[in-house]
Amino acid sequence: MKDAGFIFASYFLTIGSVLLFAVVTLRRARESAKHVDDEHKPWI
Amino acid sequence: MKKTTSKSRVVSAVLIKDLRIEVRSRVVTNQVLPFAGLIMIMFAFALDNDDVLQRVAGGLIWLATIFSLFVIVQRSFAIDTADSALDSLRVAGIDLSAVFLGKAIALTFQLIALDVVLIASAFLLYQVQVSAIGLVLLVTCVTCATTGLGFVGTLYGGLTAGANGRETLLPLLLLPVVAPVLIAATRATEAAFGSGGAATSEGWAWVGLLTIFAAVFGIGGSLAFGPLIDE
């Protein structure tokens, strides 16, 4: 594929950023959820 | 409780207070105006080309205005946060949108003084010229642009005034917001100077944009200032 470098870089950066954000979000969520009882979590 | 102070009286009281403080302390006159003049000289060092300087003089004037704006706004609110003066105004039940207008107009006057100095230095240092009709355009442009900057500066100045780590936020918040003023005022000023063959007639549309900006932030600011300060 012509220009494959740029194209793969775009996809890698896009998917990579989303995954990174997701992992960081889940980690923070897990950390915060430890300290609060379930009764205070309105989504449960 | 009946409001014994009418809105216009509050506006003029705040306006006179701010201007009087400046007249007595001369902080803007002695510090900011020389700073602005120095910026204009520094531009000449950096750009090192008489034709380029003459061509971009409009932009340089307004860049210098905006950089100086940060200092003047922070000064404007430093006056009020020292000794919790702003808190006293709030507790006294005074209409905060009137305080906003008073401070904004005071800020506008100081910006006009600043721009007089900057434009004068452009004439002296960059060899710009202006025709009679260009001068009318220039004066109108300065009036409308500084009014808009006064409103926006007071609004974001109020938001970032006071506590630690808030003042440094002012440039980051303010720069994107004043981008339309920078673009419009520069184009209008270039039209007034005839830089790069711009005709003065082109400048009036940009002045229109400046007026809209001033109107939007005049109204928006009056509404938002109260809630922002009211903590």
Partner: protein, 253 residues
């Protein structure tokens, strides 16, 4: 005062629910399809060549970045103007802004790479790019305002006002830039979209990208705003505990 749940025997749940699990799985499925289709199933464009493949991630992320901005503005408006001033709206506004900043960064970077391939330049001062860059910086400022010291109500009010002012600014900036750039007539009109004749599969892939990114956006915002609620609660609890300790100290004396 409730006990620390770490010590209690009941199970401690995270921010996931059935809804987020469903959305998450769908998001993964759709995005996998987009990547496969974008990179191999669709054909290259006649004019743009292979670089059109970048569009499949660039256009949807631009779309979602703008949607995120609108969500932040609407949620801020609900917080400020509704009588109850429910902090849930503020949390959605904040979460949406964080996700929006990420998508805007993706938009600017992928767009820049695409531009390098198509126009030979990483950047152009056309209205759409300039306004997007402006929006990006404005958002960064919004997030900085959220991190100032203060109560959650102060945070909500300050950032809410900033978000609504940003809504007023955007048209002003956009029109200034449009008029500004109209002064600079270029010999070749470089259309940000390029001259792309999209066939059925290409359009469907683009559409899938929008759907996929929307799902990703929803998943991220749901988790993020729940986490914000948890950390706000934890801070409140620390303050309450500190006050309680202080009271106990004075009673003890």
């Amino acid at each position: 005062m409730s006990q620390t749940s770490a010590q209690s025997s009941q199970k401690v749940s995270n921010t996931g629910t059935q809804a987020t699990r469903v959305i998450g799985v769908l998001a993964i499925v759709v995005m996998t399809w987009v990547v496969i289709s974008g990179l191999s199933l669709t054909s290259a464009d006649v004019v743009q060549g292979e670089s059109v493949r970048i569009m499949y991630v660039h256009v949807p992320s631009a779309w979602i970045a703008y949607v995120a901005f609108i969500v932040t503005a609407i949620a801020s408006a609900f917080y400020i103007f509704a009588k109850r001033h429910s902090l849930g709206f503020d949390r959605v506004a904040g979460a949406s802004a964080e996700v929006g900043v990420m998508f805007m960064a993706i938009t600017l970077v992928t767009g820049s790479l695409w531009g390098r391939l198509t126009w030979g330049e990483f950047w152009q001062w056309d209205p759409r790019l300039t306004t997007t860059a402006f929006l990006f910086v404005t958002y960064i400022g919004y997030l900085a305002v959220r991190r100032l010291d203060g109560t959650t109500e102060q945070r909500a009010k300050r950032s809410g006002v900033v978000a609504l002012l940003a809504v007023l600014e955007i048209p002003l900036v956009h029109f200034s830039v449009v008029f500004w750039r109209s002064l600079h007539q270029r010999a070749t009109v470089l259309d940000p979209n390029g001259d792309v004749k999209m066939d059925g599969l290409m359009l469907f892939t683009l559409f899938s990208g929008v759907v996929g990114f929307t799902l990703v956006f929803m998943w991220l915002v749901l988790h993020r705003q729940r986490t914000m609620l948890l950390s706000d609660l934890a801070i409140e609890r620390r303050i309450d505990d500190a006050i309680l300790n202080r009271q106990n100290e004075s009673v003890g004396n």
